[in-house]
Amino acid sequence: MPSMERSPADTDSARSQASEAFRAVLNACCENLERARGLVGDAVAQLLASFLNLRKIVDHQHAVLLSITDSLSQNGKGEGFTGATIHLVNEFVEQVVRVSHESMRIIDQLHETGGHVENIVEHADKIDGLARETRFIAMNARIETQRAGESGRTFKVVAEEVKRLAKASSELSVRIRREVSACHASLQTTHRTAASLAGHDMTSAIESRGAIVTAIEKLSEVNTTLQDTLVSVGTMVDDAVRALQFEDMVMQLLVDTMGRLRKLSLLTSEVFSATSSSSPTANDQRLAEFSRDLQSLQRVGSVTQASVDQGSVELF
């Protein structure tokens, strides 16, 4: 109610000042809300982009992991890296056994050959014996020819010849022995070579096989863990992306609030537009209208959800 001491013009001016100040406050509120809308929008856009990238990386990692798992369990032949590696170790062991078997066979044969060589030595001994006897006969024959004088001259030539043959036999026997001894040395070398091929410690093969099996088991264990982790990271990212849709609600709330503030600003300026010249009835009418309008502004908007946790996001 205007005071009786003040002029109507003063009252109008104060009212218009208050109206301006009120409008300025409402505008400032609207500006703040507009800035908040921009900030939330930018942040959410960035978060969404990051999460989508993360999702892409997780998917890629998952695909890589699956390809590793596939190659571990299956290759072109259907036996997989695991099977192929064990197969390789088995093949290696098989080769070692085959080489040992053949080497032992060679050694057996070398033993037999050694026996034959021993026989040759025995024969050479016999040749020596024969040569000794022949030499003895030749010596006796020579003595007899000397005793026979002129008539034994031709026999002397024969005796000399026999002596020469005995000497040749001895020399032949020496050469045989020399060859046999070289043969012995060769047999021994071959024996050593075959022995080194035959005898191998199998401990490393056992250990390698064990180590490979353990490593592969460990690998598939790690693989499973990684896969589980990636799946749960993927789910979390999906949840985060879904949660980010709250931006829509925030935006709608902001827009709604700004709309109300603008309306409030409009209504207020209408109420304040009443001047001292206006009739009291008209003023009362205006106030009644104003409170009606304010009541309609109180109505709750369409976004009722109070938290992101309240189930799925409702869009309107």
Partner: protein, 100 residues
Amino acid sequence: MSVIANQNSEGAFLISITGRFDFSSHPEFRATFAGLAPGVAVIVDFSATTYVDSAALGMLLLLRDRVGDARLIKLVNCKGQPDQVLRIANFHKIFRYESQ
């Protein structure tokens, strides 16, 4: 190592190997089965064997060549390192085989 050989009641030829069964066992092992005729059943007892190398595997295959059929040979009481080596070489599938 030492190789003890004799014939059991069922007519099978029994070979027991004590200690290490490796390349150095060859002369003795060879002498043990030198007189065996093809077709004779053989039992090789590993209960006192402490070690087996690849040469021993080769010798067992020579024994098989000698009797003519791997199923005539039974490897018995295999345990420890000898059991592991014999298995890795698939001898438990080639010969008749009994672990301890």
